[in-house]
Each structure stands twice: as C-alpha cells, then as structure tokens.
Symmetry: C2
C-alpha cells in the first residue's frame, strides 16, 4: 500500500513539468479555493493529496473525496509556490475542442497568441470569467494554462470557462469569425482606439479579443487576419500596458457595452 | 580603487533589502527600460553598474553616466529576477510629500492600502501612468514600491508619477478630499457598481481611487472614510478580480469619463 501511495505521489510530482502534464493529460490544482472549484465540476478531481494539518483544516471541503495524507515535504514537492498550502488535487485536463466551444454561441471570447507569462495567463482567465467571457483560447506558442502559477493566478476561474488549447492563431480567428464573433486585435500600432470603437457601437455584438505576447505584441499576420485592430489609449507616459491590465480594460469595455447597449 | 569599487558594490547589494533601501534612501532599477527612464529624470541616477556585455549593448544609453563594470556574478547579486539584465542603476528615492503632490492639483490618484504583492504594486503604477494618473499613494502597511519586483513591474512608470509613501490611509483620504478629489473605495461589498456610477456622471471630476489588500480588501474604517464605495461588477462566476486588474478597470473608467464627459 505504501509503495502504491509513493508511486501515485511520484506520478503527481511529474505533473509539475509541462511534459508530464501533456503526457498524463492531467494537472495539479493547489489550495482550498482551486480544489473547491475543481470538486464542483464533476469528473475533474481524480485524486487529492493533503497534509494532516490541511486535511483537518479543510475537512468539510474534502469530505467524501479520495484523499491521500502526505508529509509537508511531499506537499512542498507538489507545490510551485513559496508557501505550499498542503492541499493539492490531481485534475483531468479541461480542454474542449474549438468547434465545441464555438457551438455554444459564445458572446465574449479571449484569444491569447504567444502569451508567455503564466501569471498573466491565469490573471486573464480570472478577469475573463469576471467580465462574463465564455471561452479563452490559448493559441500558438502560448504558455501552458495548466502551469502551477497560471492555475494559482486563475483563482478557480480555470474551471468556469471553456478552455481551448493547441490551435493556431489563424485557425482560431477564422473559426471565431465564422461563428459570428467580431475579431479585434489589440496592438499599440492601431490608429483606432478603444474609446472611439466603443463610442461608435463597435463592441455591441459578440466579440473575440486577440491579445499578443508581453514583449513583442501580436505578429503582423495575426493583426491583418483580424476584422479590426484597436489600441488601448495611453494618456500618460507609459510605453504600454501590462498584458493582463490591457485585457482587463478591453474585456470590461465589452462587458459594459453589452450590459448597456447604446441607443440605436 | 578596486576596494572602493567593491565597497560601492556591497552598498548597492544592501539595496536588495527593504531595510537597506530605507536606511540609504536609495533603490535599484534594473534593465535598459528602467535605466533609461531613470536617466531621463535629472538627479535620480547616483551610479550605474553594468556587465561588459551590457555596457557594450547599451553604450548609447549609458554614455556620459558614471558606470562601473561588474562581473555577471555581481550583476546577478544585484538582481531580483531569474534572468539578470546586467544593467543596474542606483537611484535616489523619488517620494514627494503628500502636500506637495496635492498642491499640483491632481485629477486622478490611486491610493493603495495594505497592498502586499510587489508585482501588483508595480503593475498598478504602470497602469496608473497609462491611464493618466498624477500620483500613487502607498499607505499603511503597503509593499515597498522600491522593491525590485515592483520596480520591474512598473516598467519605468515609477519615474513618471508623483509617488507618496509613509502616510496613513486616514490622512491620505482627508488630504485628498480637502484637495477637491472625490474619494472612491473599491469593495466587493458595495451596493453601487462601477457602471452605475459612470452612468450617473460620478467619475467626471477629480477622483482618488482607494484599493485594498489582495486577500482581505479594504478595512471597514477606510471604506467608511471614503465619500463613495463602489464594486467592479462580476458578470461570470469569479469570486473577485485580481487587484491590479480591478485597478485597471477603475482607472480606465475614470480616464474615459474625463476624456468624453457626459453631456450635462
């Protein structure tokens, strides 16, 4: 039994690497909030690891779930944070196919192209959820949304949205347009700014926002393939916005435009 | 000469700790972007350290500045990042007094109360700059804005705004109100939401936004001391927004309201 438990722990530890996650089709969700959201989604949690202290502290939360009690040291080895929380769920990947996500007729979508900071990726998932988005697409060479830091930054929102991975930016843009979404590329080089677009009613319909890499922005071919290009206005002397901050401004502009449509 | 150089390097290394920064009244700014912005502000850069490679790469940028060439290892010891950039400026603290900042009649201010993540703090500085804010106030037990991670996340915007530290939230709120700023506390518990406030013209005048701790939000006494309390609407199932994302939505709502005032 002990060796079985050790083998399961070793397998879980393998999920701290991108390759381990890919090969197993599983990922780790750490902490009470993420575990609660994971447990609320049937079929997601495959097993749970908890330190004795965490098992006591979160007894109600994990009641009825298949828990293995582990040492503090083992919990630290499963954690990608400085302060391990002692509670980790092994979860089945959540991806849905692009066609399935679009068949649900989403009204607000975020497409990430080559985003490479896991904290930004998780924050954008959380913000997209808060803004009422239906799906987030990780395209091209974007960071793995199942990375421990991304899962942590998503604060449970990973489990609320349709998550699509492994498609090219071009395929994502074509499919979104065919599904009736207006595709809007965000780039500092655009002549049209977000306020102007909002004022002319440009955010009223179903929208897919396209966000680029933290340092390089969007590739020119992706900007060209989108229906519109827009910049977030810079009123001070900052050269640009942080990716997750820009996404927050754009996604909330859509949420507001759809909540209070301009009189026609 | 070598021992003098070593002593200066050791002194600079001391600035990687909060206490070292406080006692010296200095901080470190790393990387080409931060160094460029620091050099653009007269009297800010006290000395520069560069690896031979960085000195070559950024020869134009650092021309005429007092540069000490250091080893890669010494550069790593000055860095708080995984990938040291080999270029670090020792800068004089930038703080201005609260009265001085308010004497310039700011129209948009961010007040941080017990914010404790340096990445969030730096991102909020960058976003506040982008939204056209005039000042950012770090009050109460907020993180040190001169922390290496905060400086890095600010991406140069630290040098663009009036930065105020070391005041209490209560003193900041009273002084802002007396200076004609509407103080707006952000809290998920508020009955009024940001869209409603915007629609009734509540963001048209000079505004000081008040943001709380990442986990606990704002203390009740701070909310009570503000003129208004507002929440960012949550349209999906996220429990809350990341602090920097919430700040981006609020600060940009102000920027937009002041750019296109509602017809009166």
């Amino acid at each position: 039994m002990l060796s079985d438990s050790n083998a399961r722990l070793a397998a879980a530890r393998g999920l701290t690497s991108p390759r381990g996650r890919r090969e197993a089709g599983r990922f780790l969700a750490e902490g009470a909030q993420a575990v609660r959201e994971a447990l609320a989604r049937p079929g997601t949690v495959l097993e749970l690891f908890a330190t004795a202290a965490a098992a006591r502290q979160h007894a109600e939360l994990i009641e009825g779930a298949p828990v293995s009690v582990i040492s503090d040291r083992a919990a630290a080895a499963l954690s990608e944070t400085v302060h391990p929380q002692g509670l980790v769920a092994v979860c089945a990947r959540l991806d849905v196919g692009l066609a399935d996500a679009l068949a649900r007729r989403p009204r607000l979508v975020a497409i990430l192209v080559e985003a490479n900071d896991p904290g930004n990726a998780g924050t954008i998932l959380r913000t997209a959820d808060a803004a009422g988005a239906d799906a987030v697409l990780f395209t091209g060479d974007s960071v793995d949304p199942y990375n421990g830091k991304a899962v942590r930054a998503a604060a449970g929102s990973l489990f609320h949205l349709d998550l699509v991975t492994g498609v090219s930016p071009a395929a994502a843009l074509v499919a979104c347009r065919d599904a009736g979404l207006r595709t809007i590329a965000t780039t500092g080089a655009a002549s049209l700014d977000l306020d102007e677009l909002t004022d002319r009613g440009g955010l009223a319909g179903p929208t897919a926002w396209v966000f680029g890499n933290e340092a390089r922005g969007l590739p020119a071919d992706v900007v060209a393939a989108a229906e519109l290009a827009v910049r977030v206005p810079l009123h001070g002397r900052a050269e640009s916005l942080n990716l997750a901050a820009a996404a927050a401004v754009c996604l909330y502009a859509s949420a507001r435009a759809n909540r209070f449509p301009a009189p026609s």
